[in-house]
């Protein structure tokens, strides 16, 4: 492709000296001002709390803690420099349209408006927090080797479970939209940046802050509610609950903004010729996920806000005795929570369907149906939330309706399987590491999906609700589905992001370990649930002891497999650094036609798209895009370098 010949745009001029770096806005000042903001606002909150003493729900002043978190957030954002641009504009000064892009390696430690830098920051952050959540999972399994709370006492066990669940849910919602979405969407649609680069950076730094804020719960006494934060238990809990409320709210804001940003980018910044029916299916995955995020996250925010008010100024939204109702929380939470489950599934669909044609060497079989399927999932996911409440005493007449809508979701999900099967038909399948993860996705997600049928059926749900069956089910869909697909995506795109190869052998060791031990860990848990083991317990029926020990050992091996992944990344990306070349997978997708790593402004000229990037095996297929200058639409006018039509 022509871009390989052109000199890369030179945005990185010279890295400033360390001394110059210390002044200005970046991570260091973010941390300092966040700490300062916390203590100032906490002190202020104590004063307010004292003023209305006896009105706080716990003896640890929730007003102070929540205000402290608010102060920390403001300090963090000021330190990172998010207020520079609006302030400059307000004072009538011309503000830079790009920020932080010219600082060499320091770009990664500050507000940067290059979508590729933000994506790498996201990647590191998500990997870190995924590690924290994973460590908690290992400790949970450690405790469950005994049928009574021994190693970790019952209260701390609940905090551990809550931290694991909340951290994973928070980070995996951003786990694809953040790193891969931000990196790939502009590249795949032929754009040079996201629609709102500063907002993009904001979502990242909010996510990072939220992660650490959640961890801070352990200094505030922990919280006992799991990721669902059920009221009224959450209302009576200690101040650790405030960490949950505030950090989850930050994630809600972040998710909503990420979604808006991606939708706006895809709507407005597609290269000429990239018609709606040529958009890569991964981008469709990101768009549908974004739609869910934009519509669902505000409901979460509202619910968390109400819970915070219940805890601080004694509104009684969720207390049955004073006119409120716990059902309000259940409905609000699951109205967010169920779309959230698909926020954790759709990116996986997108990744898998994007990678499958590359290694099957065939066009995607049924592109339009695949996109329709994703939108079907997105739409239906707003109509099923009360299936989490089948035995809670909701209106009994509604149960058949929610059972029906829940089972309806298997139609669009089934489409994803059909597309995968059609694409594999008479293909030339190569077993690369990303492809193995994609195939494992179908294996795991099938089990996850079929177990969902039991849960959706009300009579069967009576046994499985709130048991380890549910827990195994959603680990099969989220870990077996999304995490497998995401790791496959990382194996596939990391050489593009960093420009360095990953080790294939280590990758295969990682895959087989992870695949085998994942199934050995979670399949027996279906049985544990059916045999009467409730979720989130540190004490269980001694007859299930052997099963749990087996699962724990498998889980630790599963954890080890992820260390292999980490070792692979560290060794090949930081130490070995073997260049991958622009297109090691011989993909037809737009991003692989660029050099690895992608230069600062992506495209020297905005390309003109000729076709969807799946024309494998089609003789005389035109190149996916025309990078030449001046480009012309087929039979149309010439295109300006900025993408406009002359």
């Amino acid at each position: 492709m022509s871009t390989t010949e052109s000199p890369p745009p030179t945005a990185i001029t010279k890295a400033p000296r360390f001394r110059e770096q210390l002044i200005g806005f970046h991570l260091l000042w973010g941390v300092v001002l966040a700490a300062l903001g916390y203590f100032v606002c906490h002190w202020l909150g104590t004063k307010i709390g004292n003023h209305i003493k006896g009105q706080t729900a716990t003896d640890q002043d929730d007003i102070a803690v929540l205000l402290g978190f608010l102060g920390a957030t403001l300090g963090w954002l000021i330190g990172l420099g998010f207020f520079n641009y609006p302030l400059s504009r307000m004072m009538g000064r011309p503000a830079s349209l790009i920020e932080g892009e010219e600082y060499g390696v320091w770009r990664y430690f500050r507000l940067c408006t290059d979508h590729k830098v933000v994506a790498v920051q996201y990647f590191v952050a998500v990997l870190f927090f995924f590690g924290v959540g994973g460590l908690n999972a290992m400790l949970i399994r450690g405790e469950l080797t005994s049928d009574n709370a021994t190693f970790i006492q019952a209260g701390n066990y609940l905090t551990l479970v809550s931290l694991h669940g909340t951290m994973m849910l928070m980070m995996m919602s951003a786990g694809v939209l953040g790193p891969l979405g931000n990196y790939l969407v502009p590249l795949m649609i032929g754009a040079r940046r996201m629609a709102f680069p500063r907002v993009e950076s904001l979502t990242l730094w909010l996510t990072v802050l939220a992660g650490f804020m959640l961890i801070s719960a352990i200094f505030l006494g922990g919280f006992p509610t799991g990721w669902t934060g059920y009221a009224p238990l959450s209302v009576e809990a200690r101040a650790g609950m405030d960490a949950y409320l505030f950090s989850f709210a930050l994630i809600g804001i972040s998710l909503c903004l990420v979604g808006l940003n991606i939708i706006a980018t895809v709507m407005t910044m597609r290269a000429p010729g990239l018609y709606w029916n040529r958009i890569p299916v991964f981008v469709w995955g990101m768009v549908t996920t974004s739609v869910l995020a934009v519509l669902a996250a505000p409901v979460l925010f509202a619910a968390l806000y109400m819970a915070a008010l219940d805890r601080t100024v004694e509104t009684t939204f969720f207390l049955a005795s004073n006119g409120g109702s716990p059902f309000l929380w259940y409905n609000l939470f699951w109205f967010f929570g169920h779309p959230e489950v698909y926020i954790l599934a759709l990116p996986g669909f997108g990744i898998v369907l994007e990678i499958l044609p590359v290694f099957a060497r065939k066009p995607l079989w049924g592109y339009r149906v695949a996109v329709a399927g994703m939108f079907g999932v997105a739409l239906l996911s707003f109509m099923v939330w009360q299936h989490h409440l089948f035995v809670s005493g909701i209106n009994a007449n509604l149960r058949p309706f929610y059972m029906f809508t829940t089972e309806l979701i298997s139609i669009p999900t089934g489409i994803i399987f059909l597309i995968g099967m059609g694409t594999l038909w008479r293909a030339r399948i190569r077993f690369t590491v990303p492809m193995l993860f994609c195939l494992a996705f179908f294996f795991n997600f099938l089990i996850g999906g079929l177990s969902g049928v039991y849960l959706s059926d009300v009579p069967s749900n009576v046994t499985t609700h709130g048991s380890y069956f549910v827990m195994a089910h959603f680990h099969y869909t989220i870990m077996g589905g999304l995490v497998f697909a995401t790791i496959g995506g990382f194996y596939y795109w990391l050489p593009k992001i960093t420009g360095f190869k990953l080790n294939e052998t280590l990758g295969k060791i990682h895959f087989w370990m992870m695949f085998i031990f994942f199934n050995l860990t979670f399949f027996p848990l279906f049985a544990a649930g059916l045999l009467g083991m409730p979720r989130r317990v540190s004490s269980y029926n001694p007859s299930l002891h052997g099963l749990n020990v087996f699962v724990s050992i498998s889980a630790w091996c599963l954890g080890l497999s992820l260390l292999v992944f980490l070792a692979n990344i560290v060794w090949t990306q930081l130490l070995l650094r073997e260049p991958a070349g622009p297109n090691p997978w011989l993909s037809k997708s737009l991003e692989w036609q660029l050099p690895s790593p992608v230069p600062s402004y992506n495209f020297e000229r905005i390309p003109v798209i000729n076709s969807a990037p799946y024309s494998y095996g089609i003789p005389d297929a035109p190149p996916v895009a025309d990078f030449g200058t001046p480009a012309r639409l087929p039979g149309g006018p010439a295109i300006t370098p900025e993408g406009g039509v002359l």
């Binding site: 006896g54 716990t58 003896d59 019952a154 352990i218």
Partner: protein, 211 residues
């Protein structure tokens, strides 16, 4: 080099996380056993009076040397008669479920308060309960009358402060760990009176380790 430093920092952080947060537990207090019977002496105080939570209500246990320990994990021998003496320094806050005003599972189905035996208390007079659900053992603890002249404000409370004395006996089962707790919503300033100390081992919930 940077990787090594980062790895070291992470390992240290993980170690502290496990050691300083997850694996912390109050000490185990062994009941003294003589002539085939054990003695367990406890007290409840309305406010602990010390860090980390000075205004939390709590149980304390007496060791054989006469020292009070801030713990709720008690070790008892199996299949043994245990004589429990409870000094109760807190005032009444009333049971949420008055059923727990019934004395259950003790020797003779009774307990005594200040020397007078009883099998049912008035639920509103209960300040705490000592309940081991798995053993069917439950004793309501009568609170110090309102308007006490000499209330105790910090643990451990000497017997010169206003208190009630509750005595009862029960027989331990076979070896195992049995949770026990208080059922009176007595956690001041928490919604439903059931947060904080009620949900923290070492305060109003604990374990009987029967060995």
């Amino acid at each position: 080099m940077g990787i090594l430093v980062a790895a070291t920092v992470l390992v240290v952080a993980v170690f502290f996380y496990i050691a300083d947060f997850l694996a912390v537990a109050p000490p185990v207090l062994a009941a003294s056993t003589q002539n085939g019977a054990s003695t367990l002496t406890l007290q409840t105080v309305p406010a602990y009076g010390h860090a980390p939570e000075p205004d939390w209500v709590t149980y304390l246990g007496l060791d054989s040397n006469g020292h009070w320990h801030h713990t709720t994990i008690y070790q008892l021998p199996a299949h043994t008669l245990v004589h429990v003496t409870l000094y109760q320094f807190d005032s009444a806050s009333g049971l949420r479920n008055p059923f727990l005003a019934q004395v259950r599972g003790t020797a003779g189905g009774i307990a005594s308060v200040d020397g007078k035996s009883f099998s049912v208390l008035n639920g509103d007079d209960a300040s705490h309960t000592f309940t081991v659900p798995d053993l069917g053992l439950s004793v309501p603890l009568k609170g110090v009358p309102a308007g006490a002249k000499n209330p105790c404000s910090a643990a451990p409370c000497a017997l010169s402060f206003d208190h009630t004395t509750i005595r009862f006996s029960f027989v331990t089962p076979g070896p195992g760990v049995y949770r026990w707790q208080c059922f009176v919503p007595c956690a001041a300033q928490f919604f439903y009176g059931f947060g904080g100390p009620m949900q923290t081992i070492g305060w109003m919930s604990g374990e009987l380790k029967v060995v």
